[in-house]
């Protein structure tokens, strides 16, 4: 099994040559390595590699697996190269600014409507979570194209709140 992965922004491939527990694997063009891997708990991988012991905690997120080892957090984008497909173009571009919710929360105020002209630093939407309000601002001048955010609605982290056409 071979996977293409992007780990902390760096692209690489990993091929699993033999499965756990005596797992042989190859990272990119480096020589294959042998690790002993057990899964003591779901999502937890105990890895012995070159005499060192690691506990890797893996969780699935919409963006791909996130691995935590010794407090280091690796955000990984893993794909099967046989089913390789370019990510669909995101909502961001040079001419459209997307305002995304940086955290899970609730929309408590919508400060702009489609068609409004906005200046840099102008507040567009206020999201609240855990007694903290976060005013999301336009970072450029332009005209509001859409405001999917509705007051009172619950939003996930990364959810689109508004788009602004850059002047």
């Amino acid at each position: 099994m071979k996977l293409a992965l992007t780990i902390d922004g760096r692209a690489d491939t990993i091929e699993i040559l033999s499965p756990a527990p005596a797992s042989r694997f190859q990272l990119g063009d480096a020589p294959p390595r042998l690790a002993n891997v057990e899964t003591p708990e779901p999502g937890v991988y105990s890895v012995l590699l070159d005499g060192c012991s690691y506990d890797a905690f893996v969780e699935d997120t919409p963006a791909g697996p996130v691995v935590t080892i010794e407090g280091h957090r690796f955000e990984i984008d893993a794909r099967d190269p046989r089913r390789w497909s370019r990510k669909t173009a995101g909502t961001g571009s040079d001419t459209v600014q997307s305002i995304l919710s940086p955290m899970p929360g609730k929309v408590v105020r919508v400060l702009a409507a489609p068609g409004d002209e906005v200046v840099p630093g102008q507040g567009i939407v206020v999201v609240e979570a855990m007694k903290m309000q976060n005013e999301l601002k336009s970072n450029r001048a332009g005209r509001v194209l859409s405001v999917p955010a509705k007051e009172g609605a619950t939003v996930a982290a990364g959810e689109l709140l508004a788009t602004i056409g850059v002047a």
């Binding site: 996977l3 990993i14 690691y54 905690f57 969780e59 691995v67 010794e70 690796f74 990984i76 899970p104």
Partner: protein, 499 residues
């Protein structure tokens, strides 16, 4: 002693109080809002009462409903915890009027100190030094006048409460209006009062506070200081006892302790309370405010003095005299506490509610964990993001830091963002280790700090684990996963097994 005690709070402090009450052999009553039905304080308490209806965020502020629950459950004392109604004089008065002991100071003391501007006046009368500021709530006009007289930066603060809510630093006149508006609105949400006052902001000062404890017979002692200079957004995140500054200058403990006792006595204070000071680079200290309740960071004082502050609070509320005098209080070793929040420290400390998918907790020597988290629990978005307080004790500050780093390494919370990794970076920071502490520490830390580069093999192991995990996920059938997560009761409703 009390027959039964209700805890008018939620989260880790409700759990902390339930533990103390249980150790005293007293039944406990939890109250809860709907999002908190399965929260740990409800599961742990002997009895539990739903406080509803109304918006979830306000349930724990409903004096009438909480007193109804207290009467229904036959409670004769209420512990308010911190936050919510803990510094609400009206609540303390309503409890006493209902014949229920309020585990805290008198309503009059709360009034004298609960209003931060009234507290400033009390402190001035008691001879405690204060920072230049207003002794009354400001309007935008009087705020502008203060800034014109004293210059920038200034700090806007809520008259009605602490904890960083309604607090804003302002560096220039142009920002005064929006900061005033934001602070007032935040204060209104947090304390139901939009009143704001202003102080001159002391740069690179330390936040050091004194824990005091008084009984209803006029005895009062201080339990030494806590250093709480590591703050983000005007909210403490790391606290220590003793303060490393006081360790170097031991006379400060006595001087600040006496100043704190004078201020508290001026307010006719009893029960546990905390007098907060700012200390400037010349080690001059200034009265900031008094918190008329148990403090979040009380565990570090408990670890070093060996006292149980919640047990003492309850005994004092029951009329017991203090069981010790000032000279019987001894400080041993060093304690540090980290406040574990559901937030992303590397994205402006934005809160991050969600479901805890995985939990590994530190333990072993010198570890104290006060939390309200369990695997499977969904951290509600309605409340503060405090998940747990991780405190350590060791014989020296250096060993306590090493122990905290070890504990942080053992600690894993999955499914949400937390500040665990951030604490590890702070605790390993040379400036922190050298105890060069001040309230602007975290801002400066982010400016000078580059995140640690993980050892090369960590990335290899992460890749391997991710690949094996991805393969395993692909292989486990969707059908199997669906069967596992569907509610059996929903299924039951369909096929009529329940009839």
């Amino acid at each position: 002693m009390f027959r039964k005690v209700l805890i008018a709070n939620r989260g880790e402090i409700a759990v902390r109080v339930i533990r103390a009450i249980r150790e005293m052999g007293i039944p406990s009553v939890a109250v809860f809002s709907d999002p908190d039905r399965t929260s740990l304080h409800v599961r742990m308490a002997d009895e539990a009462a739903r406080v509803g209806p109304g918006p979830s965020a306000e349930r724990y502020l409903r004096i009438d409903r909480i007193l109804d629950a207290a009467r229904l459950h036959g409670v004769d004392a209420i512990h308010p915890g911190y936050g919510f109604l803990s510094e609400n004089a009206e609540f303390a008065a309503a409890c006493e009027a209902a014949g229920i002991a309020f585990i805290g100071p008198s309503a009059a003391s709360i009034r004298a100190m609960g209003s931060k501007t009234a507290a400033r006046r009390t402190a001035i009368d008691a001879g405690a030094p204060v920072i230049p500021g207003t002794d009354r709530p400001v309007t935008l006009d009087t705020l502008r006048a203060f800034a014109a007289t004293h210059g920038f930066p200034v700090l806007l603060k809520a008259v009605a409460g602490g904890g960083g809510k309604g607090m804003r630093r302002v560096d220039r006149a142009a920002d005064l209006e929006s900061a005033f508006r934001d602070a007032a609105s935040e204060a209104d949400r947090a304390f139901r009062s939009p009143e704001i006052y202003v102080e001159r902001l002391l740069e690179r000062s330390r936040h050091i506070e004194i824990q005091i404890l008084g009984d209803r017979h006029g005895n009062m002692v201080h339990l030494g200081e806590r250093e709480c200079s590591i703050q983000r957004r005007h909210q403490k995140v790391i606290e220590e006892c003793p303060s490393p500054l006081v360790t170097l200058h031991p006379e400060m403990r006595h001087e600040m302790g006496q100043a704190a006792i004078r201020a508290a006595r001026a307010a006719g204070y009893y029960n546990a309370g905390t007098v907060e000071f700012l200390v400037d680079s010349d080690r001059r200290f200034y009265f900031l405010e008094m918190n008329t309740r148990l403090q979040v960071e009380h565990p570090v004082t408990e670890l070093v003095t060996g006292l149980d502050l919640v047990r003492l609070q309850i005994e004092i509320a029951d009329g017991a005299p203090l069981p010790f005098t000032q000279d019987q209080i001894a400080w041993r070793g060093a304690a540090i506490e980290c406040r574990i929040y559901a937030e992303d420290p590397f994205n402006d400390f934005l809160p991050y509610p969600g479901t805890i998918t995985r939990l590994t907790r530190p333990s072993g020597p010198g570890i104290r964990l006060d939390g309200c988290v369990y695997p499977g629990w969904t951290v509600p978005m309605e409340y503060d993001p405090l998940l747990a307080k991780l405190a350590v004790w060791a014989d020296t500050r250096e060993h306590a830091i090493a122990r905290m780093v070890r504990a942080l390494r053992e600690y894993d919370i999955g499914g949400i963002h937390t500040n665990l990794a951030f604490f590890r970076q702070i605790l390993e920071d040379p400036e922190f280790r050298a105890a060069t502490l001040h309230t602007g520490f975290i801002d400066e830390f982010f400016q000078r700090h580059t995140p640690p580069e993980p050892a090369p093999d960590l990335a290899a192991v992460a890749s391997l684990a991710a690949a094996l995990h991805t393969a395993a996920r692909k292989l486990s059938s969707d059908a199997g996963a669906a069967a596992q997560t569907a509610s059996p009761w929903q299924t039951a409703g369909r096929d009529g097994l329940l009839r």
